[in-house]
Symmetry: C2
Subunit: 227 residues, 2 copies
DNA sequence: TCTAGTCATGTTGTATACATCTTGGCGGAG
DNA sequence: CTCCGCCAAGATGTATACAACATGACTAGA
């Protein structure tokens, strides 16, 4: 999705990508939490464009399930009930085991370095707050996506991550924060080991395991979400 | 995708769906073949709306990979090179085996009737032309989709079908027409048998097999497509 | 004749004004 | 006091005019 290929993009498409990526990141980092209303006019002013191109971005985010527009009311960040969350997680789980089977890409040395840096960021700093955790998750999964050589699989995996991982983040405060940090640290370390020996299949299986365990922990979390 | 749930849709969304489904079907049936240019003004007039809501539909079809807009040039129906086709088919193949594992839905009796009617349509009539075949494929796969209880999996499976099956149709004239018809007939009959005993897992595996064989036959077809 | 430059033409992209819809508050009748 | 209905305000959806852009034909020069 949003191929970062080197061919020149038109200026219009460039603008679209900037706004799209910015809004998607804000939703993913919970700067725009589920249920929040977004004002089209306000956003258009912020990015220095009219409502027309901005609405194009919002429309796409809506088809991806991140937003929901209701005429006369507003545009809102979506949430998930546990049933929808479970369905999506079960699919993500199956897709994870495919990344090693469908055209895996070779591991880039810089990718290993970046993951080591992420682990160091987690170890050195004090206890990270939720937003810092969200940022770390995002940066880490970017490296995972880089291993997927099958274009539609990469696009779908990315989309489902942005769709559901933010819900996990909203449930984090009701979970054992220190434990979650430690689990994430272990996932990064395990993934790094697998990548170092070039075993992409193992990377997929590690991720599959953690997606499954993550879903289980969410199901045990006390408060359900209202759609 | 485009949930046919019974809750009332706003008038705007209703219009969007009508136009979206109409254009997607035309692309899928090769009424709009790969490479064809679509005029926004012309389409807007046909559907009795202005360019604004029409462009919303075109924008979505573009993110789904069915269209490609270039400023100052036009909006074109996309094609695929063999590499992209192979990647997408390999993913479709893996997804097919999931439909029996992820929340399969019970078989509706009317669905069995409709499939029997499709087989009868193929047996009674004369040798069907390509467009009639495209219509039969579409109607048949609609019944397959109805078995997928996992919403994101159903949406993705549907989207990838509309994205690539039309390419198979463009290659059909260079293949053994009678053989292709017979293969399709057998797939429908096999699927019907599996559905009659409620074995959705088998439905998925049958489909997986035929997707794999279909890709192989396409790879052997003489003329490659230009992107 | 060939070639390079110019511009007219038609397309998609953008800005803006207006239409349509939902919601919440206000006010009067019971 | 309660409840029903109306209306005003603000949101998204739509229509239209204009800008930006790519293409091909045409022309002038070598």
């Amino acid at each position: 999705m949003l191929d970062d290929s080197d061919k020149p993009k038109s200026q219009a498409r460039e603008r679209f990508d900037v706004i799209y990526l910015a809004l998607r990141e804000r939703i993913c980092l919970l700067d725009y939490p589920p249920g929040m209303r977004l004002g089209e006019e306000e956003l258009a002013q912020e990015f220095g464009v009219s409502r027309t191109p901005l609405r194009r971005v919002l429309s796409r985010l809506e088809t991806e399930g991140l937003l929901e527009s209701r005429q006369g009311v507003g545009t809102f960040v979506t949430s998930f009930d546990m049933e929808g969350l479970r369905a999506t997680y079960r699919l993500r789980l199956e897709l994870a085991s495919l990344i090693g089977r469908l055209d895996p890409l070779p591991v880039a040395p810089e990718s290993l370095e970046r993951i080591r840096a992420l682990i160091a960021r987690l170890d050195r700093g004090p206890r990270p707050d939720r937003r810092e955790m969200a940022r770390l998750f995002l940066d880490f999964y970017q490296e995972s996506l880089a291993l997927i050589g099958n274009p539609p699989l990469r696009e779908i995996t990315e989309r489902l991550y942005f769709l559901t991982h933010r819900i996990y983040l909203t449930l984090m405060p009701q979970m054992d924060a220190a434990a979650e940090v430690e689990i994430f640290r272990r996932e990064m370390a395990e993934t790094l080991s697998a990548m170092e020996i070039g075993d992409i299949e193992a990377v997929g299986l590690i991720r599959r395991t953690h997606i499954s365990l993550c879903l289980r922990r969410m199901e045990l979390a006390p408060i359900p979400e209202q759609p």
